[in-house]
C-alpha cells in the first residue's frame, strides 16, 4: 500500500495526535514511505502553514510536531474559549528552580538550594505535580539525594524543540555584562522599588 496523498495523511496525523508526534512515530506508522519523501512532505506542510493566509501552524515542540494557533490571533481567539482555563503560570520561585534544573540537570535539591540561596524543596513538588520535572536516580554523595531532570512536558510547556534550544548560560553571562555596562537599560527595566529609601 502506498499513500497517493502523503501530505494530506500527514496533516491528519499531526492534527489528530494528542501530543506532539515525533517523526520517528510517523515513520513507524508508515514504514513503506521513503524516508526522504516523508521528510520533505513534512517540511512542505510546515512551510505551507507558516504562510500568513493560515491562522494555524505546525510547530516543532518536544521533538515532535503539533498544530497550534498562531500567537497573532490570541486576543480574538480568547473570546472563543469555552472554558477559560487559566494558563499555567509558574511563580518566580518555581521559574528559578525550573531554570536551575534545566541547566544543571541532573541536579539535587541541596544543589538547587545552594544556587538560589533559599530552602524551598516544596517548589520541586509543584514542578513534579505539573510533570515538568522527574526523578533521575540518586547522586552518590552523602545522603544519596534524589536527582531531578526536566521532562517532555517541560519542553512542551515552554515551547522548546529540545534542550539544545535553550540559550546557553554564557549568553546570560553576556547579558549581565551588557546590562551592567549600560545603566539606562537597567533603569528602564526596573519596576520594583527597594523600600530602603522610606526608612
Amino acid at each position: 500500500m502506498s499513500y497517493p496523498n502523503l501530505p494530506a495523511l500527514l496533516e491528519a496525523i499531526i492534527y489528530l495526535a494528542e501530543e506532539p508526534v515525533g517523526v520517528d512515530a510517523i515513520r513507524k506508522a508508515l514504514p513503506e514511505v521513503d524516508r526522504a519523501e516523508l521528510d520533505s512532505a513534512i517540511q512542505g506542510l510546515i512551510e505551507k502553514y507558516a504562510a500568513p493566509e493560515h491562522g494555524i501552524e505546525i510547530r516543532e515542540v518536544a521533538d515532535g510536531l503539533r498544530f497550534s494557533t498562531k500567537p497573532e490571533h490570541h486576543e480574538t481567539l480568547k473570546k472563543f474559549l469555552k472554558s477559560q482555563i487559566a494558563p499555567t503560570r509558574l511563580s518566580l520561585a518555581a521559574l528559578e528552580t525550573m531554570a536551575v534544573i534545566a541547566y544543571r540537570q541532573p541536579v539535587t535539591v541541596p544543589e538547587i538550594q545552594e544556587i538560589r540561596g533559599v530552602h524551598a524543596a516544596g517548589v520541586i513538588k509543584t514542578l513534579l505535580d505539573k510533570r515538568f520535572v522527574a526523578t533521575a536516580g540518586r547522586k552518590e554523595v552523602l545522603g544519596r539525594p534524589i536527582l531531578y531532570k526536566t521532562t517532555k512536558e517541560f519542553l512542551i510547556h515552554f515551547g522548546l524543540k529540545d534542550l539544545s534550544e535553550l540559550p546557553s548560560m554564557e549568553e546570560f553571562e553576556e547579558l549581565i555584562k551588557t546590562q551592567a555596562a549600560s545603566e539606562e537599560t537597567i533603569e528602564t527595566a526596573e519596576q520594583t522599588e527597594l523600600p530602603l529609601e522610606e526608612v
Binding site: 531554570a99 526523578t135 510547556h157 515551547g159 553571562e173 537597567i186
Partner: protein, 248 residues
C-alpha cells in the same frame, strides 16, 4: 523559634535576590562591594520587614551572618605572619551572586517563553476517531509510582479495620467445607449452591482462595459457559483432600 521564621519576603525570592537587587540598583561594582555599607542596608531591610510584621526567613539570616563575617574579616589588619596575600573574603559571595544572577535571567527567559506559549492553543478537541477501543492509560514515571503507593497506603489506613472474627473459617476449613459439599453433590453443582453464606469481605476472600486452591490441587473442576454466567463445580472423585492439604 525556628517556627517563626518561615515565610519568605514577597518581593524577593531569597537573600541573594535581595542582595543582588541592592547592588544592581545602586550601581555598585559587584567585584568591589563596599561591604560595610551593603551590610548595613541589608540589615536595615530585614529590620524593616520585621517592623512590618513580615517573617524573615532563616535563609535571609544566614546571608546576614555571612555579610557580618566578611565585614569583620575586612576590618582586621592583615596578619603580618600570614602567607603573603589572603584571598579577598568577598570572593565567594560575589561568585554566588553572579551565578545566581545567571539563573535569574534564565528564569526570566522561561517566563517569556511561557507567555508566548500561553498565547497559543493546541489540540482543543481534535480527536474524533472512536477512541473506545483505545484504553485510557497514563504515561508514568517514578513520581507517579510514589504517588500511587502513597494513595494506596492512605486508602488502606482510612478503611475501617476489617472485622476479624476469629471464629471465621480459615482457608483450610473453607476448603474442607467446600470439598465436602461439592463431592456430596456427586456430579455438577452450581458454585453458588455450595458456598456458605458470604457475610463478610474476609469470608469472601477466604472462599475465593479456597476455591482457587482446590482448583489448583485438581480437587475440583470449574466450568463457566458464558461470561458472568453461573460457575459449575465438579469434584474430582480420585482426589483425597487430606493428603495435600496437610502438606501446606
Amino acid at each position: 523559634m525556628v517556627d517563626e521564621l518561615k515565610i519568605s519576603l514577597p518581593l524577593y525570592e531569597g537573600p541573594l535576590d535581595l542582595l543582588l537587587d541592592m547592588i544592581r540598583k545602586q550601581k555598585i561594582d559587584i567585584y568591589d562591594i563596599p561591604i560595610a555599607q551593603v551590610t548595613q542596608q541589608y540589615l536595615d531591610y530585614l529590620h524593616l520587614m520585621k517592623e512590618l510584621n513580615v517573617d524573615v526567613a532563616s535563609d535571609f539570616l544566614v546571608i546576614a551572618a555571612q555579610l557580618i563575617y566578611i565585614k569583620s574579616r575586612m576590618l582586621l589588619p592583615p596578619d603580618p605572619d600570614a602567607a603573603e596575600e589572603l584571598e579577598d573574603p568577598r570572593i565567594e559571595l560575589v561568585r554566588r551572586l553572579l551565578e545566581y544572577e545567571k539563573f535569574k535571567n534564565a528564569a526570566q527567559m522561561l517566563y517569556q517563553r511561557e507567555m508566548i506559549e500561553n498565547a497559543v492553543w493546541s489540540n482543543p478537541g481534535a480527536v474524533d476517531i472512536d477512541q473506545a477501543e483505545l484504553e485510557p492509560e497514563l504515561t508514568v514515571g517514578l513520581y507517579d509510582l510514589l504517588l500511587a503507593f502513597r494513595e494506596v497506603v492512605k486508602r488502606s489506613e482510612q478503611r475501617p479495620p476489617m472485622e476479624v472474627d476469629r471464629e471465621e473459617f480459615s482457608v483450610e476449613q473453607m476448603m474442607a467445607f467446600l470439598w465436602e459439599n461439592i463431592s456430596a453433590a456427586s456430579g455438577e453443582v452450581p458454585l453458588t449452591r455450595v458456598l456458605p453464606e458470604i457475610t463478610s469481605r474476609r469470608r469472601l476472600i477466604t472462599a475465593f482462595l479456597a476455591i482457587l486452591e482446590l482448583t489448583r490441587l485438581r480437587a475440583i473442576y470449574l466450568r463457566q459457559d458464558r461470561p458472568f454466567g453461573e460457575i459449575i463445580a465438579r469434584a474430582n472423585p480420585n482426589y483425597e483432600l487430606s493428603k495435600s492439604a496437610s502438606a501446606s
